[in-house]
Amino acid sequence: DVKVTQSSRYLVKRTGEKVFLECVQDMDHENMFWYRQDPGLGLRLIYFSYDVKMKEKGDIPEGYSVSREKKERFSLILESASTNQTSMYLCASSPRGGRASYEQYFGPGTRLTVT
């Protein structure tokens, strides 16, 4: 079974803090993704990566950065957390290419609250 794990289930941070959200997958997938989920807005793509050291902006990258130093690990960084970044953050992975790449495997999510 594919397993995608996220470092924290719940996180509370203060405005202005630097926040790291970690994601690890164990299926040797090339593709990794970060989403945020907000009520009424669905899942919105923040950043994704097709390979180590590669990153692409998604639909809402502002205020975020990412790091992919190893294939299995994809980190989301909030450089200076703000209250409008309070959200559920979801990491996902998928293999590269073909139909299999469309079926993403998600982690359990991190509920981040910025006060």
Binding site: Y35, L43, R44, F48, Y50, S94, Y102, G107
Partner: protein, 110 residues
């Protein structure tokens, strides 16, 4: 502008009846569509998919129908069970990314 639209934020269905969740899309280049299911405090899980060359795909109680001319797909759940209460996301592929709709919350009533 939204390329994948789920216009019903919520839906309530009696246990044992059919649940029909609808989804519309705007990009005729999409060639693969998926449905994901999400329980609270969990990540979404893949449920069922359909290629654009088909008009129906069935997996147990779940059937997805695709009407390309109308750019519309629907997920049918028969019979609906209490464990089906969840948020359902419709999605479509764009290269290696998928684009999600906003979701429909399904309540199965006893």
């Amino acid at each position: 502008d939204q390329q994948v639209k789920q216009n019903s934020p919520s839906l309530s269905v009696q246990e044992g009846r059919i649940s029909i969740l609808n989804c519309d899309y705007t990009n005729s280049m999409f060639d693969y569509f998926l449905w994901y299911k999400k329980y609270p405090a969990e990540g979404p899980t893949f449920l069922i998919s359909i290629s654009s060359i088909k008009d129906k795909n069935e997996d147990g109680r779940f059937t997805v129908f695709l009407n390309k001319s109308a750019k519309h797909l629907s997920l049918h759940i028969v019979p609906s069970q209490p464990g089906d209460s969840a948020v359902y996301f419709c999605a479509a592929n764009e290269y290696d990314k998928i684009i999600f709709g906003k979701g429909t919350r399904l309540h199965i009533l006893p």
